[in-house]
């Protein structure tokens, strides 16, 4: 019996996990299918059984990223207790934390060049961001926020957070300032929409 069986068993998961690590440590550009296979200990052609090409792997990585981001956001809101302001602030800081800790992965998620697997990615993204709409809607119903379509506010908020994270990742915004800028930005966006 060989040290490693002919069939890996869960190559797909192993590929995704190792790929995520490589992307985080050395960037998307540095991800090579052959090197990946080598590290895991399979032949250079094996990944092809699970991902038709490199882009398919990247798409899967992006989708998985949205799933994990969604879980993190859900958890943050759950732990934040009641109240629209603390919930949205928790959402904001959780998003930015994820974005800065998984900079390359996030770039991958937003890279508009997914292919036929794109629907999966978009669906995962929508699912991840659903919680922000929920929080805003509930705040409107409870009278904390003025009524209106929650979609634009959610979009603008997420865009702001994404932009701030992108600037921090690009080195154009100091990492220490980020926390306070995020708090202030959310406050700016909410200040005009509170019911008083």
């Amino acid at each position: 019996m060989p040290a490693r069986p002919y069939h890996h068993g869960n190559l797909r998961s192993a590929l995704l996990a190792r790929a995520e690590q490589t992307v985080r440590e050395r960037g998307t550009q540095a991800l090579s299918l052959r090197e990946l296979a080598r590290e895991i200990g399979v032949s250079h052609g094996a990944p092809r059984r699970h991902f038709n090409d490199r882009q398919a792997l990247l798409d899967a990585l992006a989708e998985d990223g949205f799933v994990r981001l969604g879980r993190a956001l859900d958890e943050a809101v759950r732990d934040a207790g009641p109240g629209c302001t603390p919930q949205l602030q928790a959402l904001a800081h959780t998003y930015v934390a994820f974005a800065t800790q998984h900079a390359a992965l996030l770039e991958l998620m937003y890279a508009g060049k997914h292919r036929e697997g794109a629907e999966h990615v978009y669906a995962a993204a929508e699912q991840a961001f659903a919680v922000s709409l929920t929080v805003i809607s509930e705040a409107q119903q409870s009278g904390e926020l003025v009524p209106g379509d929650p979609e634009p506010l959610a979009q603008v908020s997420l865009a702001t957070l994404h932009g701030l994270a992108a600037m921090a990742n690009g080195g154009m915004l100091d990492g220490e300032d980020l926390q306070v800028v995020v708090t202030d930005a959310m406050e700016m966006l909410l200040s005009g929409l509170r019911r008083r």
Copy 2:
């Protein structure tokens, strides 16, 4: 006398121009030094005289992008006439237009993995965004906006615009909606800061 002289004359400019076109049409990933050289009609090693490696070319492309963006923003403010609101709205729509028309280039500009050439890129970025600080400061001195440090407002505004553009480029925000969302977002950010 050969059709093409031994020395190209301005290979560096030609490389940058052609590279910018390729990046715009087929994405950063598709940019190949050898193909570039082939298209311009020089040997595959010639680009190395002007860019030590692929990343150096990409950095130069990013820097040039910031220069052009800066010019566009300056021009937009100049053409917008007096008044803080129209100037900032013009700034906003110009930025988003650039970001969506040069999506791949913008990704390059914000990609945080520039190297020793990074100072050039950062300097170009700062120069490009300087006009937004100017507009805000002048509005504060003329009494249109409440006084305070203009930096955070400028940062948050640009982050919001960048985020909205990223979402549009990623297909998560309809291109038609973009215009009105941008206008609304700027209005949200300014609404709390006007002196009345």
